[in-house]
Subunit: 218 residues, 2 copies
């Protein structure tokens, strides 16, 4: 993380609660997950996954600013969090949370956001057609991580075809084929940093599955 933005966050944080430390991780780093508490994201993006006994990885979702994650609210034995960008996190122990109604009040809507995303992913993978699963995943990501650009919405999270395949329970080859088709049809493109851009006209309609209206301003 650039020293300037780190300084800004540290300063902001100092003003609101001088006792709580911030934790910084560089892009690509694995974030340690201790069982006694949860992380809240102050800045940056995180990828969450689990590891199956056969050695394969199961994608569980993505976290952005103010979302929380951690093994405290999880049954999973292996839980992995990777920094997709430089990230800045805040750590809360369950003892602190249980003791502070004010903290619980701050964290409840954030856990609600994580729940909403996880439930949406579960609803997505239950769909029969892989094309529907991919379309709904892109709508969900647009809602959660979309930034308006000139001709559409840019996903601030950079996804590999393998990640998308993991999220919608299909193979990388299938994802490559369908994304290629959507790109040919002019429904999406990639910018110079390999982030997906979803074109307005193709992703402007409200989703069948989700209640949010998928518009340009998400």
């Amino acid at each position: 993380m650039a020293q300037t933005s780190r300084a800004i966050i540290e300063n902001d944080q100092y003003n609101t609660s001088s006792e709580r430390h911030l934790h910084f991780f560089n892009k690509g780093e694995t974030i340690p997950l201790m069982p006694q508490g949860i992380w809240q994201i102050c800045q940056g993006l995180v990828r969450l996954s689990t590891l199956y006994s056969v050695g394969e990885e199961g994608l569980l979702g993505w976290g952005g600013p103010s979302m929380c994650f951690g093994s405290c609210f999880s049954h999973l034995q292996t839980y992995r969090a990777n920094a997709l960008s430089d990230v800045c996190l805040m750590w809360y122990t369950m003892i602190e949370i249980e003791a502070s109604p004010k903290l619980a009040q701050e964290l409840l809507p954030q856990l609600g956001r994580r729940f909403r995303q996880t439930e949406a992913l579960l609803a997505i993978v239950g769909q029969r057609r892989v094309e529907d699963r991919l379309h709904q995943l892109l709508l969900l990501l647009k809602q959660e991580f979309g930034q308006p650009v000139t001709d559409g919405t840019r996903l601030s999270i950079r996804l590999t075809h393998q990640d998308i395949a993991g999220a919608i329970c299909t193979t990388r080859v299938t994802v490559t084929r369908i994304l290629g088709k959507l790109q040919q049809q002019g429904w999406l493109s990639r910018d110079k940093d390999r982030h997906l851009i979803l074109k307005n006209e193709a992703f402007a309609y409200s989703s069948d599955l989700f209640g949010f209206v998928s518009n340009n301003n998400h």
Copy 2:
């Protein structure tokens, strides 16, 4: 719900908070889901699902005592809750929750429980082999809804083969085949009310996927 147990719950409730009403639904009833708040289960079991545009249903999970559910913490357009038994519920509006740190403190661990179940279901469906998915689902249900009986653990939730198929993204026919095999091997049975009994020796080991040790006392 029997009048006696209803009277007991109403009386208990009266002692703790005389202002909050309890809501009762009979087995088989659809529970209305208003967007402004969430339900908390006081007694009974609830089945949660969504409806896809093709007319199929996507299973999202099950709720038991003290768990909460509702469309307030959901992106889903269609959200269905069905009473699997007679149920007694408490309703909280988001305005109330946002205004009361004490209520948020009570609800945070319960939303955590719902999150944990949903994330576990997502991790289960990501597994390649359908046998693994079914085995892990039974372990999860044992943890969440298991009651110790003489020779194993009884699932207090009665599941149809179609429900299991929906939860692990496979067909009813496949579920019937695998359950039949497990029954032949003596790993599970059904009691007279058609509830599954998981035999101790077959489901005594800790799960690969989950951190909980799957023992007789869950």
